[in-house]
C-alpha cells in the first residue's frame, strides 16, 4: 500500500478573481505529523478546507488515502477539527457526540461510550448533558476536538487545535495529539508555530497561495548550528563584536526591536565546546539571557522566510 496518505496535483482554488491557492503539489506521508503554516491570506485555511472536502477545487486533484476527497471509502477513516463550525444548539454535547459516533458505524451503546471516552480525554465529561450554549468558547473548542478524536481515524486534520485554550488545557491537548500521532497521520494548521514545532515532524509553508516549502521541521530549525538567546533586553547593535575572539562564531543575527532575541551561528567541528565558549563570552561581556535554545526557533525561521 502507498505510503502517501494525501496527494495533491496542481491544486488551485479561486474565489472570483482571487487566486487563494495556485498550483499546489503536495505529498503527505503516512504516520507523519505535518504542520500547515503561513501568514494570513497565504491559503492555509483554503488548502485545509480543500483537503477536508469542505471546498471544491477550481482545478487540480486531491487524493486522500488513495481515493477522491468525496469518496465513501474514506468516511470514518479521517477525522477533522474544523475551526469555525458550530454544534447544534438544542442538543446536549454528549448526545451530539454520540450521534456523530453512530455515523461512524457504531451502535448506540458503543457510540455513547465513545462520546464519554473522548469527553474524558478533553476533560469535559462533566459537561456531557450540557447544551452548547452553556459552555464557554474554550469548552466548545474542546468538544470540537473531542469529536475529532472519535474512532480510530487514519488521518486527523486539526485546524488551530489550541486556539482559545488556556495554557494548561493547551498542554493537555498537545499531549493527546502527540499520543495520537503514534498511530495516525496528523495535519495541523496553525498560526501558533510553537505548537507546530512541538508536535510536527514536517512543515508545509504557504505564501501567497503557493507552496513555499515542505520540509522537516528539524532541517528548518537546525540547518545551521546556532544558539538562540532570549535576552533581558534588546541587544546593542554592535553585540556581535563580543564574539570577535571566537573564530567558531560565523554570524550573529538580532531580532526585531522588542523581541530581545539574538541568534549566534557557529561552526561545529565536533571537538571544540563552541556552545560553552559562546556562553562564556557573553558572560564576560555582561550580556545576560533568560532562555537559550539550541538551533533556531521555528517562529524566527518562518518569520524570516515570510519577510
Amino acid at each position: 500500500m502507498s505510503q502517501n496518505v494525501i496527494e495533491t496535483h496542481n491544486l488551485s482554488k479561486h474565489f472570483g478573481p482571487v487566486k487563494a491557492l495556485d498550483q499546489v503539489n503536495l505529498i503527505v506521508n503516512k504516520g507523519t505529523t505535518t504542520g500547515l503554516v503561513g501568514p494570513n491570506g497565504a491559503g492555509k485555511t483554503t488548502l485545509f478546507s480543500l483537503l477536508c472536502g469542505f471546498l471544491k477545487p477550481t482545478s487540480g486533484s486531491i487524493q486522500v488515502l488513495g481515493h477522491h476527497a468525496d469518496s465513501a471509502h474514506i468516511r470514518g477513516r479521517i477525522s477533522i477539527l474544523p475551526q469555525d463550525a458550530t454544534l447544534l444548539k438544542s442538543l446536549p454535547v454528549g448526545k451530539q457526540l454520540s450521534m456523530l459516533a453512530e455515523l461512524q458505524g457504531m451502535n448506540k451503546k458503543a457510540a455513547q461510550s465513545e462520546a464519554v471516552r473522548v469527553l474524558k480525554l478533553v476533560d469535559l465529561y462533566q459537561s456531557f448533558n450540557q447544551l452548547p450554549e452553556r459552555l464557554s468558547h474554550g469548552m466548545l473548542k474542546r468538544v470540537a476536538i473531542a469529536q475529532a478524536l472519535m474512532g480510530e481515524p487514519e488521518i486527523i486534520m486539526l485546524d488551530e487545535p489550541t486556539a482559545g485554550l488556556d495554557p494548561n488545557t493547551s498542554d493537555a491537548i498537545k499531549a493527546v495529539i502527540r499520543k495520537l500521532g503514534q498511530t495516525s497521520t496528523i495535519i495541523i494548521s496553525s498560526h501558533n508555530l510553537e505548537v507546530i514545532e512541538d508536535l510536527c515532524e514536517k512543515i508545509i509553508i504557504l505564501r501567497k497561495g503557493q507552496l513555499h516549502s515542505h520540509e522537516m521541521v528539524a532541517d528548518l530549525t537546525s540547518r545551521t548550528k546556532a544558539l538562540t538567546f532570549k535576552l533581558d533586553k534588546d541587544p546593542e547593535a554592535n553585540v556581535a563584536d563580543i564574539f570577535k575572539s571566537l573564530p567558531l562564531v560565523t554570524a550573529v543575527k538580532l531580532g526585531q526591536p522588542g523581541q530581545h532575541r539574538m541568534v549566534v551561528y557557529f561552526k561545529d567541528d565536533g571537538e571544540s565546546m563552541a556552545e560553552i565558549e559562546i556562553i562564556k563570552c557573553m558572560a564576560v561581556a555582561g550580556v545576560t539571557y533568560r532562555e537559550m535554545v539550541r538551533g533556531e526557533r521555528l517562529q524566527d525561521t518562518v518569520s524570516d522566510r515570510m519577510r
Binding site: 477536508c52 465513501a72 463550525a85
Partner: protein, 274 residues
C-alpha cells in the same frame, strides 16, 4: 464516488427527526401547525361543515374551487372530512414551505456540515435531509387527518367505512401533494445559509410564478398552463376531487417533480463550498 449507504442514511434520518422535534425551528412548525388545526377543528366540531353539503354550500365551493370538486367532495361523503381536506390542501404550501425550509440551510450557515462530511457523503446528507423533512411533514398530516377522521365519524352521519376509506385517500393525497413542495425546499435550502432565508426564497419563487401564471393566463392561457407546471402544485387539480383514479395520476407525476427539484438541488449541493 458518492455512493449512498443505506444504514448511514437511516441513521441521518433518525437523527434529523430527533433534532427536528427538539429544535426551535421544528417546535415552531409543530406548535403553529397544531394551533392552526385545533382552532379550525374547534370551528368544525359543531357540524359546521354539513352546511357545505347543501345546495347553497355546493354553489359556494363550486365558485371557490370547481363545481366538479363540490359534487365530488360533498355528495355522499363526510362533509367534515371533505372540508378538512379542502382546508388542508389549500394550506399545504404555507406549512410545507416553512416546515421543509431547513433541510441543509442552517447547517451550511453554521458549518455544522463540517462535522458530518468526514463521516457521511454529501449525497447521503442531501437524501437523508429530504427524507427527514418528508417524514416530519407526513407524520404531521397523518396525525391531523386521523383527528379529522375521528371528528367526521362523530359529527357526520356518513357511513363509518366510507369515512375510513376516504381518510386513507385524504392522508395519501396530502402527503403526495406535499412531496413536490418538500423537493422544492431541498433545492432552496442548498442555495442559502439560513432556514429563514430558504423559506423566503421558496415562498417568493412560488408566489412570483403564481402571479406570472395569473397574468399570462389573461392573454395566453395555453402558455400559462405550461408555465404553471414549473411550480410544485401541479398535482392539486388531480388530487382535489379525492378520486383514486386521479390520485394515481398524481402519484405518477410526483416523482418527476421530486426528481427535477432534487436533481437541481443535488447539482448545487454536490459542488458548493460548505
Amino acid at each position: 464516488m458518492n455512493s449512498l449507504r443505506l444504514p448511514t442514511v437511516i441513521t441521518l434520518v433518525r437523527q434529523d427527526l430527533y433534532y427536528a422535534i427538539r429544535s426551535a425551528r421544528g417546535l415552531l412548525f409543530l406548535v403553529f401547525f397544531a394551533v392552526f388545526w385545533l382552532w379550525l377543528f374547534s370551528k368544525l366540531t359543531g357540524g359546521a361543515a354539513q352546511w357545505l353539503a347543501n345546495p347553497e354550500g355546493n354553489v359556494l365551493i363550486g365558485w371557490l374551487f370547481d363545481p366538479k370538486v363540490a359534487r365530488s367532495l360533498f355528495v355522499d361523503r363526510s362533509p367534515t372530512l371533505s372540508a378538512f381536506f379542502l382546508l388542508a390542501v389549500s394550506t399545504v404550501p404555507v406549512f410545507v414551505l416553512f416546515a421543509a425550509s431547513d433541510q441543509t440551510a442552517n447547517d451550511i450557515g453554521s458549518k455544522y456540515l463540517r462535522f458530518l462530511t468526514p463521516r457521511c457523503n454529501r449525497i447521503e446528507i442531501f437524501v437523508a435531509r429530504f427524507l427527514g423533512a418528508t417524514l416530519l411533514v407526513a407524520l404531521a398530516y397523518i396525525v391531523i387527518t386521523a383527528v379529522a377522521t375521528v371528528m367526521a365519524i362523530v359529527v357526520d352521519n356518513t357511513r363509518f367505512t366510507t369515512v375510513l376509506l376516504d381518510s386513507v385517500l385524504v392522508m395519501l393525497s396530502l402527503v403526495v401533494y406535499a412531496l413536490p413542495f418538500i423537493a422544492l425546499m431541498s433545492l432552496c435550502s442548498v442555495v442559502v445559509g439560513s432556514a429563514g432565508l430558504s423559506a423566503l426564497v421558496g415562498i417568493s419563487v412560488y408566489v412570483v410564478v403564481l402571479v406570472i401564471v395569473a397574468v399570462i393566463e389573461i392573454k395566453m392561457p395555453q402558455a400559462a398552463e405550461w408555465i404553471s407546471y414549473l411550480i410544485p402544485n401541479a398535482t392539486k387539480g388531480l388530487i382535489i376531487q379525492l378520486q383514486w383514479s386521479q390520485f394515481m395520476q398524481a402519484l405518477m407525476l410526483v416523482p418527476l417533480y421530486v426528481a427535477f427539484y432534487g436533481f437541481m438541488g443535488w447539482r448545487i449541493f454536490s459542488k458548493r463550498d460548505i
